[in-house]
Amino acid sequence: MIEVRNVWKEYGEQVVLERVNLKIEEGEFCSMVGASGCGKSTFLRLLLGQERATRGQILLDGKPLPGEPDAHRGVVFQRYSVFEHLSVIGNVLLGFELPQAKLFGRLFGARRRAARDDAVAMLERVGLGTVLDKYPQQLSGGMQQRLAIAQALVMRPRVLLLDEPFGALDPGIRKDMHDLLLKLWRESGLTIFMVTHDLKEGFTLGSRVLVFDKVRIDPQAPGAYGARITYNIPLDHGGASAAGLALANGAEPSAAQSAAQSAISRTSRAAVARPVRSEAPT
């Protein structure tokens, strides 16, 4: 469904991504892991259409991806994902109003009522049915991310892109969000790409883990070579959860995980110091 053909991304002299090739089927949940600055967020922005590849092509259903963000691709960022001037219901309603009302961006009468019912149903699915009229400022970080997910899902996007969506949340809340996200993913059959710093999260949630890493490093010119997808690890979901748990418990990680982990710790120890220190095999 999504095909990435020999994509390069360069900023001036600096090569961020090089020779990225990938084929992802519909309904996959791809976790993207890697050290800071290895291009996984850049790759997400390419998928989103926020930036264009310097070379190569990204195809969605065999056609080149539109060069601007559009309604086919939903997104949830770590911060600033919801509109603070709109109430919870207003944020989700916006997803119905913008595509349907091109002139004023607002719906009225029966169409508004229908959209509102759909919006309320979606908010109930993510557990925000009781705070419809609150503003995002009045919600906790976890609830704001739930809202952002609901807002993205009402658009019924082909692809959902998540850029460290749970990075700013407490561990307990993060667990709830994982359950919610998995539930929504199974129900909707969406294709999801998620950038995460947290290896355990990547392995727990994903049906496939993509590891981004620099294969070649020139110490004299750190920008000369970019990162590639060095590991593309399919996981069957039951196994993934078990592996994630094993990693969490500090048990011997599977071969795939240690490969991913060593890739990450090699390029940037500081950035992923936490998982490496606490969970590396002894």
Partner: protein
Amino acid sequence: MLLLLPFIVLVVVYFTSSSLRLAVNPEDKLLPSATQMGNAVKEFAFTEDKRTGEYLLWSDTEASLKRLGLGLVVSAAIALVVGIATGTIPLVGAMFSPFIKVVSMIPPLAVLPILFIVFGLDELSKVVLIVVGITPIIIRDLQQRTREIPSELWVKAQTLGATSWTLILRMIVPQLLPRLLICMRLSLGSAWLFLIAAEAIASTDGLGYRIFLVRRYLAMDVILPYVMWITLLGWLIDEALRRLTRWAFPWYVGGR
């Protein structure tokens, strides 16, 4: 109570000095007593003017507030449109931002004669002076605020199916309106300054006109109540705008 203290000190110092001066010379005009000011207020606010048949304080207030209100509203409207256009559309911004920056450096009072020549001595030139004086500053602020809207939100709006037009309508305008009200509050002082300057130079009514008229007779007993009245009006407008911001944009944290 502490917030009243400076006011009380001011009043006490004034009336002590006033009574000291009046004790030496009962004809002194510089620091009028409360009775003298009361009489002046009675004459200007509650007695028909013999020549025009109007109550001067109220007709002055009406004339001034009309000019001020019109000037503020027109400035806000222009600033909102230009601020959003230059902040949102890179091409427009690149073309006009330096121009606006330069224009905002022109001292408005220096172009007052030009305004009088071009727009005549009527209401229009006074309103235009206020607009010329405060609009560039509001534009620059709104432009800045537009650029400060996180890029994540732009992308998010696009993924929700927004066009450039609906994006402005549903995201940028609503996010900027509370900021616009705050800008209006901040430029209120300048707006009064330009209003009074314009009235002082060429007018037949208005609060500024009256103050500069009675100045000829050293009528401090009129000037001081007028100044207090202007101050009170300014404070009331500021407070009204503040409450409007809080009421209309409960989500806006900066307004609290």
